[in-house]
Symmetry: C2
Subunit: 558 residues, 2 copies
C-alpha cells in the first residue's frame, strides 16, 4: 500500500492498527546515497570507527522511501498475514512553514541511477513525499516560531526609513478619511512587505489586516467579528502545527507498540531511522546502542542470521548464487525446500494488492524489500525451529523466545569487516584470529611501504594495509615465518640482538614501532570501546583514516 503526503492522515489509523496487531514489523529504507567519499568502509574498522562512518552517512544522505511490513499470525488461516506499507518521504518545506524545514543533503549519482532503474519515482518523492523532522529539528522549528511570534520586528535600515514613515502616514490617513474597505500599499520586495506587516501588527489594535496581493500589500479594515475570527484563525494555525504531518509519527507508533523490528543488513537503516525520525545521533557507539535498545528492545538482522547460523551455511552455500546472502537470493532460497515445508503460509492481507497482483518482483522498493525481509526471517527461523529436538508448540512465540534463535538477535551484520557483528546488548566478540596478520602502531611520520618492507624483508612477501597515518596491518604470505615476527616494541627486539652481538647501534626512527598480534590488537580495541566514557570520546574523536591522503603509500609490495 503506497502512502503519500496526500493520503497519510487518512491511512494513519490503518497503519496504527497493523502495527499494534503485529507479531513483528519488518523495515527497509531507500537512501540518496550510501557512504560519503571520505568515510569508506574498511575491514579493520573498530566498532566506533564503523559507527562514526555510518553516523556520518546518516547525517549526510536522506531517507526517501521507508518500507514497513507487519506480520501477524492468524489462527483462522493457520498462517501469517503480511501488510506491506511503502512510504515516499521527503523533508520538504512543510508544516505550513515555507523554507522552515529546508534541508541541504548529499546524493550519490550512482544511487539515484540505481533507484531510477528500479522504477523509483523521484517526481513523486518531491511532490508527494511525506515530510519529516526528528525531535531535535522539531524543537528547533518550534523555538523559531515562538521567537518570531514574540519578537517579530526587524530593524529598519536607513534606505527604507522614509518608506516606513510614509506608509504609516498613508494607512493612518486612509483610516481617518476614506470609506473604502481596502487599501493597496505598494511594497516591491520582501523586506518592504515585512515592514508593512510590522506597521499593521504594531498599530490599529488588530482592527486592520494585511495580506500580500501581487506585489502590493492589501490593507483591510475589520469589524469586531472579523477581528475575533482573525485571532481564532491564528490560534488554529498554532494547533495545526502541533498536529503537523510528520512521518516520524509512524516510527513513534513502532516505538510505542514495542514490536520486534526485523531488517536485512540493517545497521545503516537503523542509523538513518533514528537520525531522521527520532533524534540526532550520539557520538559514541555505546550510547547509540543504548539509545536503540531504549527504542526497541528487540532488533533482528536477517543477514546476520543467514551469515552466521551454522545450520544454514550448507544450504546457503549450495544455492545457485553460491554463498550469497543478498535479500533477493535469500528470498529465492526460502521459496524452496527444506524451507518451504517448515512453515505455514504467508499471505498478503487482501487490501494489500500491489505486490500480490504483480507478476514481477519489486526489489528495492522499500515496502517490497521489507516484506521479503519478513518472509526470509519467518522461513529461516521456522526451519531452524523445525530442527530442534523438542517439537515447538507455539510457533509465533517460539520465534522470539527460543534459545536456538535468540542468541542471533540484537546483533547487526557488519559489511566488509573482520568484526562480523555489532552486539546491541553486550560486549563485541573478537573476530576469528588471523595468525599471519600483525598490527603495527606508532609508525613514524612519512614511513612508506618500502620502509616497512625493508624492515621485514627476512619474512618474505608481505601485504600492507594502512589503518591510519601511524597504524597499519601487515600480512605475511609465508605462514612458516609467523614465529619470526618480533611482537612488541621493535626497538626492544633490536636491542636484544645488539646485546648479543655486543655492538652498540644508534636508535632508529623505527624503534618506537610496536607490533601487536592481530588478536591482541582487537582485544584492546574492543576493551576500549566497552570502557570508553562518552566524555573521553568527545575529547578525542576516533581517527578517520580516509581523511589522510595516502595515495603514495598505497602500493603493494612483493
Amino acid at each position: 500500500m503506497e502512502v503519500l503526503k496526500q493520503n497519510f492522515l487518512e491511512l494513519f489509523p490503518k497503519i496504527q492498527q497493523a502495527v499494534q496487531e503485529a507479531d513483528f514489523v519488518a523495515i527497509d529504507t531507500e537512501l540518496t546515497g550510501l557512504q560519503p567519499i571520505k568515510s569508506r568502509l574498511f575491514f579493520l574498522d573498530s566498532p566506533q570507527q564503523r559507527y562514526s562512518k555510518l553516523r556520518h552517512a546518516a547525517n549526510s544522505f536522506l531517507v526517501i522511501q521507508f518500507g514497513l511490513c507487519t506480520f501477524t499470525w492468524s489462527r483462522e488461516k493457520n498462517g501469517y498475514i503480511s501488510k506491506p506499507f511503502n512510504f515516499y518521504v521527503f523533508p520538504g518545506s512543510v508544516l505550513g512553514e515555507s523554507g522552515g524545514n529546508e534541508r541541504t543533503f548529499l546524493c550519490q549519482s550512482g544511487s539515484l541511477e540505481f533507484l531510477s532503474g528500479c522504477n523509483f519515482d523521484f517526481n513523486k518523492m518531491i511532490a508527494s513525499g511525506i515530510p519529516y523532522v526528528n525531535r531535535a529539528e522539531e524543537l528547533a522549528l518550534k523555538a523559531r516560531r515562538e521567537n518570531e511570534a514574540n519578537n517579530p520586528d526587524i530593524p529598519i535600515d536607513d534606505n527604507n526609513r522614509d518608506f516606513f514613515e510614509q506608509t504609516k502616514v498613508l494607512i493612518d490617513t486612509w483610516l481617518q478619511d476614506s470609506t473604502e474597505k481596502a487599501l493597496e500599499v505598494p511594497a516591491g520586495n520582501g523586506y518592504l512587505r515585512r515592514l508593512v506587516y510590522q506597521i499593521v501588527r504594531n498599530n490599529y489594535n488588530g482592527f486592520v489586516s494585511a495580506q500580500k496581493k501581487d506585489r502590493n500589500i492589501e490593507i483591510v479594515k475589520l469589524s469586531v467579528e472579523e477581528k475575533d475570527k482573525n485571532a481564532q484563525d491564528a490560534d488554529n494555525r498554532e494547533a495545526e502545527f502541533s498536529k503537523m504531518v510528520n512521518f516520524s509519527s509512524v516510527i513513534q507508533l513502532m516505538i510505542d507498540a514495542q514490536k520486534p523490528i526485523v531488517g536485512h543488513n540493517c545497521f545503516l537503516d537503523m542509523c538513518h531511522t533514528m537520525r531522521h525520525f527520532v533524534d540526532d545521533l550520539p557520538l559514541h557507539v555505546k550510547e547509540w546502542k543504548n539509545a536503540l535498545q531504549n527504542l526497541w528492545s528487540l532488533v533482528i538482522d536477517t543477514k546476520h542470521i543467514a551469515n552466521q547460523h551454522p545450520t544454514l551455511q550448507p544450504l546457503i552455500q549450495n544455492q545457485p548464487s553460491a554463498g550469497s546472502t543478498a535479500l533477493s537470493d535469500l528470498t529465492a532460497l526460502v521459496q524452496q525446500e527444506p524451507f518451504l515445508s517448515a512453515i505455514p503460509d504467508i499471505d498478503f492481507d487482501p487490501e494489500f494488492t500491489r505486490y500480490s497482483t504483480s507478476d514481477s518482483p519489486h526489489y528495492h522498493e522499500a515496502g517490497y524489500d521489507a516484506h521479503c525481509t519478513g518472509v526470509v526471517f519467518l522461513r529461516l527461523t521456522h526451519y531452524l525451529l523445525s530442527q530442534e529436538e523438542f517439537p515447538v508448540t507455539n510457533v509465533s512465540k517460539a520465534l522470539l523466545t527460543s534459545p536456538a534463535l535468540t542468541s542471533y538477535y540484537n546483533k547487526l551484520n557488519l559489511m566488509r569487516s573482520d568484526l562480523k557483528t555489532l552486539n546491541l546488548t553486550g560486549a563485541e566478540e573478537a573476530p576469528e584470529p588471523r595468525a599471519t596478520h600483525f598490527i603495527l602502531t606508532s609508525i613514524p611520520p612519512n614511513f612508506r611501504n618500502n620502509d616497512l618492507q625493508g624492515l621485514f624483508e627476512h619474512l618474505g612477501t608481505v601485504s600492507i594495509h594502512w589503518v591510519d597515518d601511524w597504524t597499519c596491518c601487515i600480512a605475511l604470505h609465508d605462514e612458516t615465518k609467523v614465529a619470526q615476527m618480533p611482537v612488541g616494541r621493535l626497538g626492544d627486539a633490536r636491542n636484544e640482538v645488539v646485546e648479543e652481538d655486543g655492538e652498540i647501534q644508534e636508535s632508529k626512527p623505527s624503534d618506537n614501532i610496536v607490533i601487536h598480534t592481530y588478536a591482541d590488537w582487537w582485544n584492546q580495541i574492543l576493551f576500549d570501546v566497552e570502557n570508553a566514557s562518552p566524555a573521553v570520546h568527545r575529547k578525542r574523536p576516533p581517527f578517520d583514516p580516509a581523511s589522510v591522503d595516502r595515495n603514495s603509500k598505497v602500493r603493494r609490495l612483493g
Copy 2:
C-alpha cells in the same frame, strides 16, 4: 527543443549549426541548490569572498538542466530567429564505465521542490540526462582507464589463493581434455570474478574469452578469427571512449564559435558552467575572470543592464512590479511600450515548437529562461539604441559595438551586495559611499555587541554587522554624529584625549581597533583584489565569516 542522452548525438549537428549562425547565445542553468549553508551571501562580501562562495556552490551542487538559446538576425524576415534548446544533464555512471563517473553532490530540498512545482522532471533527469565531465575529470577518467589497462592485476589475498590455483587448473584441464566449447566457472562475488578474468587475461594468449553469466564466469574457446575480432572490439571500445557522449562538447561549440554569451544574473551560472563543463575553478577571482575571458571575450548580464542603466530606471520603477528586475517581470515589461516598437520581431524557428505552441509560460525551464533572457536583452538594448542621437544603421552589429551599450557588457550583477558588479575586464568600481557606515578591524577576540555599543554610546544608536571574527561594520542612525566617529586607531584617538587631560590611563583591549570610513575600506579591499598574486592568495585563503559561530553576537542594539 528538448535534448536528452538518447537524442544527443542525433541533434548535435543541429545545435552546432545554430551556434555557428548565431549573433549571440543566451544561456540559463537549473541547479540542485544555490548556496551551501555555510556560505550565505553578505552585503559586504569582497569580490574574492563572493567568488569563493559561488565557487563553493559550484563545487557542491550540480547543473541538472542547461538552456541554450541562439538568436540570429534574419534579413529576409527583418527580425530575429530564436532557437531554444533545453538540455537535461546528469553526471551519471556513463561512458561505458559503470561507477566510473560517480558524483557525490549536494541538494537543497527547497530548490528541488521549487523545480518540481515548475514541472521539472526528475525521473527524466536521472534516466535520460546527458552525462558530463569537465577536462580535469575526463583526464582523471582516462588515466584510470590506462592504469587499469596497463596494470590490471589485483593482489590475491590468502583466503582466495586456493580458489585462484584451483580455477587455473580447472581451465587448463578443460582446455586439454574437453571438446566442449564453453565452461562455466563458479565465482560468487566480484573479487573472485576479477581473479578469473585475471587468469584468462594472463594466459592462453587471447584464445580464450571470459564473460559474466549469472553468478558464474563463462569461459569460451576462440578460433583465430574470433580472437582477432575480439581484439578489434576492444580497440573500438577505446575509440568509443574518446567519442563519448559528454554535454561539455556543447559548451566547447560555444567556446569555438566565440559568440557573445548573454545571461540573466549569470555570475553563478558562469561559475557552474565553467566548473562542470570546462575545467576546475581557480581559487582566485582574478584568475577566474581571466579564465572566463579566455573562454568568451564577451559576456553580458541583462540583470546588470536593467539594474544600472539610468535610461531604463524610470521605466523599470513604473512597471506593476515596481523596481523588480526578475526575469519574468522584465519579460512582461519588454512586451509593452516603449520597448515593443523599438525592435524588429523575434520569432521562434519553425522547428522549435515547444514554447511557441504553448499558452502558458515555462519559467524556470532552462531553455525557456534562456529564450526570455535573449528577448529581454534584445528589447532593452534596441530601445537604448533608439534613444541615441544618431540613427543606427546596422542594428545587430550596433548591439555589440555601440559605446552606449558596451560599457554595460562584461559586468556581472552581484546580488545582495553593496558592490554592484563584478567587472570581467578591469578593476572593480567601489560602491556608492555610505557616510554613516564605518568598518572596524582588529577587534579583540570575544568582543561582543555590547562592548562595541559601550565604546560608541556617545554616538547614539548604532547597527552592528559582523564581517568576520575581528571585523565589523557599524552604522550610525544619527547622521549628525558622523563627524564625531574617531577614524583611525582607536587607542591613538584616546591618547589625544589623555594628552589634553594630562591624566595617564592604562592601555585598553580596544586600543588596537582601527576605524575605517566605508569608502577607505572598500578602496583597500579592491586594491588588494586587483594586486593579490595567486600565490599569496593560496597561502592565505579569504576568511569565511560563515565558518564562525557568532549566534551570541548577532543581537541588535539600540
